[in-house]
Amino acid sequence: MNTAQTPSVRSIKLAAFFDILPLSIAVIPWGVLCGSLAIQVGLSPLQSQLMSLLVFAGAAQLSALTLVGVGGGIAATLGSTAVISSRHLLYSATFRHDALGLPLHHKILMAFLLTDEMFAVTENKRNELGHFPLDYALISGATFYVIWNLSTLAGIVAGTSIPDLDSLGLEFAIAATFIAMVVPNIKSSPVLIAVLVSACSAVLLHKFDVPNGLLLSALFGMVVGYRLDKETS
């Protein structure tokens, strides 16, 4: 640890850890589920952990394991991984400008740690600071990575699915964190309308079980917001 660090550098590292903590805690049940489901559908403990270590994408892992459980093929598994992960293209595009100037190892590390949660807290911090905080991105991403893998390990060790895990309501922490990040950043009517469009379409698509509804509803809001933005400017 560099002792010459200024307090602001140190506090941004602490902030990265604490900002991602509620999201990391909320994801523990899904990590446990991923680990135990992997064992149940016949993966070895090593394979089960490798999945979280290398793939590091909760929704994609859970859907792949479900497909394996029902005897789905390789193409179906890879196809669902691609579709579910496609929203990360948006995150990558959003950070492109800041990432291009980074050395290769930082770019690779950043991309590897770029989850929904890391994107959420880092984009929020970037807006607050007015520049891209690399340390913040890497620390929040790494914190999330460690907790995700430890919770997978807990699921592998437990082996069988732990009942009532999803009735704890921990996903509320995700909703609360995202609301607390979005609401203060609604500073113009295009943003407000974009957010309302995304919210309404997300609830509707969720009710009708539309595949990839998350990405679609986000894109609806983005298109509407952008068009209004162009008209007002």
């Binding site: 290398l54 792949a64 691609a82 293209l89 770019k107 991309a111 959420a120 995700i174 974009a194 969720h206």
Partner: protein, 103 residues
């Protein structure tokens, strides 16, 4: 499931996250695209949160006992009043679990 499949999945997810970090990508993100992308965070975070809060809304008296709905609305109100994100998250989680225990 084979090791190959796990590695292929890892490659796919990594590619989606790395795609736009490639300098050689034949795409130029001009100011208009950057403005469009500035809507990514509010829209995608809302799209994740909204079904958790409003997904089980039934438009009848059951809604009065739905801790996700009540907690979510309280979180929105708190976020308008208090600027500290961590405080809002912790307070609303406290409220949510209290509601869940009571209702």
């Amino acid at each position: 499931m084979s090791y190959d499949l796990i590695f292929l999945m890892a490659l796919i997810t990594f590619f989606m996250r790395y795609a736009f970090f490639m300098e050689k990508l034949p795409v130029k993100l001009d100011l208009r695209v950057q403005r469009f992308l500035s809507y990514t965070a509010p829209c995608i975070l809302t799209a994740m949160a909204a079904p958790i809060v409003f997904g089980e809304v039934t438009f009848n008296t059951h809604d009065l006992a739905n801790p996700f709905l009540l907690g979510g609305i309280l979180t929105i109100m708190l976020s308008l009043l208090v600027k500290n994100t961590l405080f809002v998250v912790l307070a609303s989680m406290g409220i949510f679990f209290a509601l869940k225990a009571l209702l």
